[in-house]
């Protein structure tokens, strides 16, 4: 059981390339923390720094308050599941799992019981005598998992462990990994570029971009209170729709003016935009917060362009001011391409962002 702290951690690969830049992060004991971000944002680098496979350019790494920045990997009390699994092909499953245990002055019987127990936990107990090339991808991944679990590390690191699995198995493994975490309670840093994986697994999500942390928060935080345009656009599927609008004062009213619609704000919204009068801003609305309404209440009307049925839901794409806008609605009335839709936005679900910096305006 342990906590992990990164202080001002940087990794510079060359004059221009920073893997990670001035990162501050603290992971709580027993926490399942997910590092999320697009490819190349520094997730793997962060994990490799924590593991000791990469030397930090600046900053410190602390486990339980002890500085381990210059400690070799084997003495860090961490374990890792690699994206390529990195299961050793010349060893049986048993030997893969037992490898680390053999350095720990345990008796043969103790090693045997730990291997059996972890193989059991990840459901490969019937495969321990095989070599990795006699296993499927999913089974190999379980071997990598068992090998990492067997050492009962303080910190458990996982680099996109599910990205090489097929879609169905991936969803099964999410649940299984969470269940294993419930059982082991090992402090975990889990890396993924898949926002839905992050949303469904994380206690907290750390969103990274270009080697820098953009937002840290619970899945709800990052979804409902996205800190900037990047996060709002990255989290959620389909992502947030953005519009550039002008703020117009009409008497005591404030109106968001767009070439295709004019949205009169309620009082709460008005107070949030107090400092922004007579300027442009970006506002965002999530697909499920655009509702289909009757002709007389409509804010704007547009024909449906593409409709993707998703069981009880449908994703409808339409074009507003030459930009694709997507909305999600229940299948009460199935919509067909070409149908005229009358739409409105849920006022309390509007997100405002500074047009220049992309930062969120007002916190809800």
């Amino acid at each position: 059981m342990a906590d992990l702290k990164l202080e001002n951690l940087s990794k510079r690969f060359s004059r221009k390339v920073w893997g990670v830049k001035k990162m501050d992060l603290s992971v709580k004991d027993k926490e399942f923390l997910v590092l999320l971000g697009p490819s190349g944002c520094g997730k793997t680098t962060t994990l490799r720094l924590i593991a000791g496979l990469e030397e930090a350019t600046t900053g410190n790494i602390l486990i339980d308050g002890v500085d381990i920045t210059d400690t070799p990997p084997r003495k860090r009390d961490i374990s890792m599941v690699f994206q390529s699994y990195a299961v050793w092909p010349h060893m049986t499953v048993y030997d893969n799992i037992a490898f680390a245990l053999r350095f720990k002055h345990l008796s043969k019987a103790e090693i045997d019981s730990i291997v059996t127990e972890t193989a059991d936990m990840v459901k490969i107990d019937n495969l321990v005598k095989r070599y990795p090339d006699q296993l499927s991808g999913g089974q190999r991944q379980r071997v990598a998992l068992a090998r990492a679990l067997a050492v009962k590390p303080k910190i458990f690191l996982m680099d996109e462990p599910l990205s090489n699995l097929d879609a169905k198995l991936r969803v099964v493994m999410r649940t299984e990994l969470r269940a294993i975490h419930q059982q082991t309670k090992a402090t975990t840093v889990f890396v993924t570029h898949d926002q839905s994986e992050a949303m469904s697994m994380a206690d907290r999500i750390v969103i990274m971009k270009d080697g820098v942390i953009v937002q840290i928060g619970s899945p709800d935080d990052v979804y409902f209170k996205s800190t900037n345009v990047f996060v709002a656009g990255f989290i959620g599927m389909p992502p947030t729709n953005f519009f550039t609008v002008e703020i117009i004062h009409e008497g005591t009213d404030i109106v968001l003016k767009h070439p295709f619609f004019e949205l009169k704000l309620d009082n709460e919204r008005k107070s949030m935009l107090y400092d922004y009068s007579k300027r442009s801003l970006t506002f965002g609305i999530r697909p499920e917060d655009i509702t289909i309404t009757s002709e007389k209440n409509n804010l704007l009307k547009e024909r449906a362009l593409v409709v993707e049925p998703q069981g009880s839901l449908q994703i409808i794409a339409l074009k507003i001011d030459d930009k694709i806008v997507k909305l999600v609605s229940a299948r009460e009335h199935t919509v067909f391409p070409g149908d005229m839709l009358f739409l409105t936005f849920k006022q309390n679900k509007l997100h405002f962002f500074d047009i220049d910096t992309g930062e969120r305006i007002g916190d809800l």
């Binding site: 690699f82 490898f99 680390a100 350095f103 070599y131 050492v151």
Partner: protein, 299 residues
């Protein structure tokens, strides 16, 4: 329908044999024929009568036992030295330090030199007033009158001179095979070793070397085969008969003696058959011991 699937499966089975047929013809003509001829020739005298005299000559050749000893001593020691050094250098290059590429390039220069050039170079270096002695003198390892006579022609100094020159010329090619093998390894396999408790040495022993097994086998077999056939560099350095090896005797008899007395040609054939048998047995033995015949483990 039935006959159709039947004929199709015959074609399927025959296809690989048809594909390798040209190679087999080629080998039959250019490889097997001379080999069989040599084998056959060793058992006949000049008049075409069957005889064991050629083999008797070989086994009674006063140089034969020396040749066997020299050949094996040089082969074993030089391959061992070459492997250890080449492996060490490959590990070094594989760290990918700055300038590793340049180092690899410089290290491979000996590969581009013909034996004659290598011999000339080392002869100049090893002469009593050569660059090696003057280097040793300048760094203070020997006194002005303490020059080492490398080329004295005494047995042990000669053997070691040959081993050093051979290693110098051969390490690069071994290194290239090993570096290629190492660069093919997934780096994460080693990194997992470090994370799961391994030191540099344990990772090398339990992960890197076992994973490089087939590369190492290849490098060693190629080396052993050519080490057993060592002769050119010896002859260029010391001439014939001063440090006889199996192949240098073979060349000596067929090249130096046969023109005057053709029976030496038949005797050289007997020598070559013996060399061929020794090399093949060693290769087979080595493959067996190294486990290359076992299929499963190489996964």
């Amino acid at each position: 329908m039935d006959s159709l699937t039947h004929s199709r499966s015959i074609w399927k089975k025959a296809a690989p044999y048809l594909l390798i047929a040209p190679t087999i013809v080629w080998y039959g003509f250019f490889w097997a024929r001379p080999v069989i001829q040599a084998f056959y020739g060793g058992f006949f005298d000049l008049n075409g009568h069957f005889t064991l005299d050629n083999y008797k000559f070989v086994f009674n050749d006063p140089y034969f036992l020396q040749a066997i000893f020299n050949t094996f001593f040089i082969a074993i020691v030089s391959v061992a030295v070459e492997f250890v050094l080449a492996f060490g250098l490959s590990l070094l290059i594989n760290i990918r330090f700055k300038g590793a590429g340049v180092f690899l390039f410089i290290a491979t220069i000996p590969m581009a030199l013909p034996f004659v050039a290598i011999a000339a170079m080392w002869k100049a270096g090893l002469a009593t007033y050569g660059w090696l002695n003057s280097f040793l003198y300048h760094v203070g390892l020997i006194a002005k009158n303490g020059k080492i006579v490398f080329m004295s022609g005494n047995k042990w100094p000669s053997i070691f001179v040959i081993i050093i020159i051979d290693a110098w010329g051969v390490i690069p090619s071994m290194m290239i095979i090993l570096v290629a093998g190492m660069q093919n390894l997934n780096e994460e396999l080693k990194e997992a070793g470090y994370i799961f408790g391994g030191t540099r040495l344990t990772v090398l022993r339990k992960i890197t070397i076992p994973l490089l097994k087939s590369t190492i086998t290849t490098a060693l077999i190629l080396r052993i085969i050519s080490a057993i056939q060592i002769w050119a560099i010896i002859t260029l350095m010391f001439g014939y008969l001063r440090l006889p090896t199996l192949v240098s005797q073979l060349v000596f008899y067929s090249d130096q003696r046969a023109p005057a007395d053709p029976v030496y040609y038949q005797r050289a054939l007997a020598y070559s058959v013996i060399v061929a048998i020794i090399i093949s047995s060693i290769v087979i033995l080595y493959l067996k011991v190294s486990g290359s015949f076992r299929k499963e483990e190489n996964g």
